[in-house]
């Protein structure tokens, strides 16, 4: 890997309340890389990502984005962010188009949406297969569709760096595949991606490198870890037994 670093985190420490959550993390993501941040619940992977986007203050260490110290970084239009488990529904109804347009603000002047901006919003929705729902209220969406809208919101700015916190959590299988396709398109056009994941799942083939956290420290930084246990058995190809639409109705013989 010889691309220039897009994210550079050195010796980062952070606390939540009085509890140390990050205890000296080094993480470098280079241009064009797809890096998965893995770890158990409470390992600090979400905190690490939230520190990178400036939601959690670092108590020590250094952070650079695109080679600029975080404190002086202003070029937010280069970055697309998908927060964890937020709901796009507020106290007032909003359409899919309105929510995704909010992601385009960083590229607009004074928030005025020009033709190019509206086209970018439609393109982002096409990437996640939701363009036909642009006028629908976000309240009417399923969990997976909701997540697709939040990802479109991050893509609307046409970012060079995409940061996603658990994009697959609570997402149905069909939406997971749509998201994997959307992500592949981003990688092909040269985007850099940092993902927090609970398990590699359908994104596994896309991932160049995995960084595993445990108790706020990096314990693995390299190729994605080999699957172990049940998942490592030959023949386990992550096909789950969902009946296709053409499948025969189940006949139990009890009623006929």
């Amino acid at each position: 890997m010889d691309g220039q670093p897009v994210i550079s985190l050195r010796g980062a420490t952070a606390t939540l309340g009085s509890r140390p959550v990050l205890r000296g993390i080094d993480l470098t993501v280079r241009r064009g890389e797809v890096v998965a941040l893995l770890g158990a619940n409470g390992s600090g992977k979400s905190t690490a990502v939230r520190a990178i986007v400036g939601q959690v203050p670092l108590t020590g260490g250094e952070l650079e984005l695109f080679g600029t110290p975080r404190r002086r970084f202003r070029d937010w239009a280069r970055l697309g962010y998908v927060p964890q488990r937020t709901t796009a529904a507020g106290g007032v109804p909003a359409t899919v188009g309105e929510v995704v347009s909010a992601g385009r603000l960083a590229r607009t002047k004074l928030g005025i949406m020009r033709k190019a901006d509206r086209e970018a919003v439609v393109r982002a929705l096409e990437l996640v297969g939701m363009a036909d729902r642009i006028k629908d209220s976000v309240d009417a969406l399923s969990g997976g569709q909701h997540q697709r809208v939040l990802i479109a919101r991050a893509l609307a700015v046409e970012p060079e760096l995409l940061i996603m916190d658990e994009p697959m959590a609570g997402v149905d299988l069909a939406s997971q595949e749509v998201l994997a396709t959307a992500l592949r398109a981003q990688v092909e056009r040269g985007a850099t991606v940092l993902l927090v994941l609970h398990e590699l799942g359908p994104l596994e083939p896309l991932i160049d490198r995995a960084v595993v956290l445990r108790d706020g420290c990096v314990v693995h930084d390299g190729p994605p870890p080999e699957a172990v246990g049940q998942h490592a058995l030959p023949g386990h190809d992550h096909v789950h037994p969902h009946a296709g639409p053409a499948a025969e109705p189940i006949r139990t013989g009890l009623l006929s």
């Binding site: 400036g54 239009a77 970055l79 507020g90 106290g91 909003a94 359409t95 603000l105």
Partner: protein
């Protein structure tokens, strides 16, 4: 239209019109971020400003604006920093503001309980020439802020964390919302009264939500409903001699109930459309349960 022959009614209708626009405009953002009762809190604090205005013999509207802005900024700081026991701090602010107002009013020579009542419940026909100038200037600020920055305000009210990562000056915009809400309270204070201010920020938005599906539609319709109820409520209070504030709020509730009833068939229609749009409906046929009427012989 003999109603327009009187200068005081012209002023009253103008005040009603700008309140009908401004209160739902900022109210939409407050409801969106689930701070529907913030206007009520600011209304309590405003009373101290009114009392101070009487005590110092200055304009109660401007004094209330100053105190409201300070109060709203303190509330916003409590909201964004003091996560622990924020509700207690807010309660102190609300009731302190109310008690302070009553106390200051009783200390001043020109203040009386009758005066207090006109600020608490509104007295649109006593709006003076100076009042109407102040109301229009303040309303212009509110309209500029809420319309001009609607996309930015929408983004921070929808998802503050995401808005920060898009580079928006979130802290500044949050303060702007607080200040705009404070200014709106003082704009509406003479028309509906401090105790009913919040109603005009919330009820038109709630009514509009019954039929709107987008934020833009909710925003526009809430303003239309706001103007409708403030102007008709004021006109009603001229002909029937009832208090303007109470008429306006009751009319707003009437609109809310009407739209809720009208929206029920609309919601059903939308549900049917959604069901028709879903192509991959259930294709698996479930066999009927066996009933005694079937050919079961015992």
């Amino acid at each position: 239209m003999d109603i327009l022959d009187f200068a005081f009614m012209q002023r009253a209708l103008l005040a009603a019109l700008v309140v009908g626009i401004t209160a739902p405009a900022i109210g939409t953002f407050l409801v969106q971020r689930r701070q529907a009762l913030m206007g009520d809190g600011i209304g309590h604090v405003a009373l101290t400003g009114v009392g101070l205005g009487f005590l110092l013999n200055t304009s109660p509207v401007w004094m209330a604006t100053a105190v409201c802005v300070v109060g709203a900024v303190v509330m916003e700081l409590i909201r964004s920093y003091g996560k622990a026991r924020g509700d207690i701090a807010l309660a102190m602010l609300f009731y302190g503001g109310m008690a302070g107002g009553v106390m200051l009013m009783s200390l001043s020579s020109s203040g009386s309980n009758a005066n207090l009542t006109t600020y608490l419940f509104g007295s649109i026909t006593t709006v003076s020439q100076q009042d109407i100038v102040a109301i229009c200037v303040l309303a212009a600020f509110v309209i500029l802020a809420t319309l001009g920055l609607r996309r930015q305000l929408f983004a921070i009210c929808q998802d503050e964390e995401f808005a920060r990562v898009t580079g928006l000056p979130v802290r500044l915009l949050n303060l702007l919302i607080a200040v705009t809400a404070a200014v709106t309270v003082t704009v509406a204070m003479r028309v509906v009264g401090l105790l009913l201010v919040s109603a005009l920020m919330v009820i038109p938005v709630a009514a509009s939500q019954q039929i709107a599906r987008s934020f833009a539609m909710t925003f526009a319709l809430a303003i239309a409903i706001g103007v409708l109820v403030t102007v008709s409520g004021t006109t009603l209070s001229y002909y029937v001699d009832v208090p303007s504030g109470a008429s306006i709020v009751l009319l707003a509730i009437g609109v809310f109930v009407t739209l809720t009833v009208l929206a029920t068939p609309l919601a059903r229609k939308r549900a049917r459309q959604a069901a028709a749009a879903a192509e991959d409906g259930c294709t698996l046929t479930v066999p009927d349960a066996r009933r005694p009427a079937d050919d079961v012989r015992v």
